[in-house]
Subunit: 223 residues, 2 copies
């Protein structure tokens, strides 16, 4: 596989992350760059979903990806090999989340004038990443069918900060006790405005709906 | 369902968690109580695995469970209803992990003289709980097949602090790209001493091996 750029992220020095995140969002707006912060549990299919989605939209938008992980660069390499787009790996040095300054360190390694959409694949964790505004224009998350439909009850903050919930691995619905209607209801309890899109990254089902949603949002942001 | 006791855990005041954890472990030893700290991603099947296991061992050992979650009491109620044993819910108030003092707050709500084994179901998270010694005699974790066999590469600390890795949901192996041998090899890279037991909490397969392992460990601890 091709080598990818690996960035060792340093701990932030800013005391007020919310203020810094608002500043970063303003910089992104000025540069016409849409930043999507994608969160989920470990193994819910973030990377596979991104590969499918990027291959659908890369002719319409200039896309780059930042893969945050505590260790390894498997995800950044997978994205690069499977889509051909710019993909860098951020190492968090054991930290369980990214904040705005850490995100900015990653963005500094991308050709900002040449991208429309940057997708940040956050550390696989349903708790801490929800507490830190990364400066992203939009928070999205993936819940996969094998994790169960009760997750909005147990991880309320994550569901309340996300504008979009992708429900992934719908192909294995027959083998798990997952009730889609109940899950939608739990998500609505946490965030009535959240958009819910069932997808299957493995077969590609539903990915076009996510791709269209994303392209519309990016076009609005760039106006 | 029966009501369960819900404990709102307060933030710890101790500066040195490692020291406090060692002290708690000594107290447990003096009381002949074995504390197992069970960790995993959200939705890997901790509660279902515990129900199966407890129903196998509850005639041999006096067992109690502490369910840690950010919100909800579904898990503590499930355990109580399905096994009849003492089960309490710990609410972490948004915190992503438990440390020794928080664990002690939970233990204070159990009849310590009347139990041999306390199982702490930690917050679903592969990152932060690995960083804090809870005072448990043993750390164990569950990795479920749908999460993928590459998790030891991405969450190294979690795998290195666990003496036991249960690989759950083996019944869905045919529907996922999960290589058991590769997974064992990755786990060995992180922790050559870790015991690996494949289980299926849904069908009960492998649970007897876990139950025997646990009973042996508890008996040794109580000597």
């Amino acid at each position: 596989m091709d080598p990818v750029k690996v960035i060792e992220i340093k701990k932030s020095v800013f005391a007020d992350n919310d203020e810094d995140a608002a500043r970063l969002r303003k910089e992104l707006k000025d540069n016409g760059v849409y930043l999507l912060n994608l969160m989920s549990s470990p193994g819910s299919g973030k990377t596979t979903t991104l590969i499918r989605t990027i291959n659908l939209i890369k002719d319409r938008l200039r896309v780059a990806v930042m893969e945050a992980d505590i260790d390894s660069d498997v995800d950044a390499r997978k994205i690069k090999d499977a889509t051909g787009i710019e993909s860098i790996q951020l190492h968090t040095g054991g930290m369980c989340h990214l904040d705005a300054e850490m995100t900015r360190q990653g963005l500094g390694n991308l050709p900002m004038g040449e991208v429309d959409l940057v997708i940040l694949e956050n550390v696989g964790n349903l708790v801490c990443p929800a507490e830190f505004d990364t400066g992203a224009v939009c928070n999205a998350m993936i819940l996969s069918v094998p994790e169960g439909d009760d997750k909005p009850l147990k991880y309320p903050l994550m569901f309340s900060v996300c504008d979009l919930v992708l429900i992934n691995k719908t192909d294995v619905m027959p083998y798990f006790d997952f009730d889609m209607d109940r899950c939608r209801e739990y998500i609505r309890m946490r965030n009535p405005r959240a958009m819910v899109i069932p997808v299957c990254a493995k077969t590609g089902e539903g990915i076009d709906a996510f791709a269209d949603w994303l392209c519309t949002r990016v076009a609005e942001w760039k106006k």
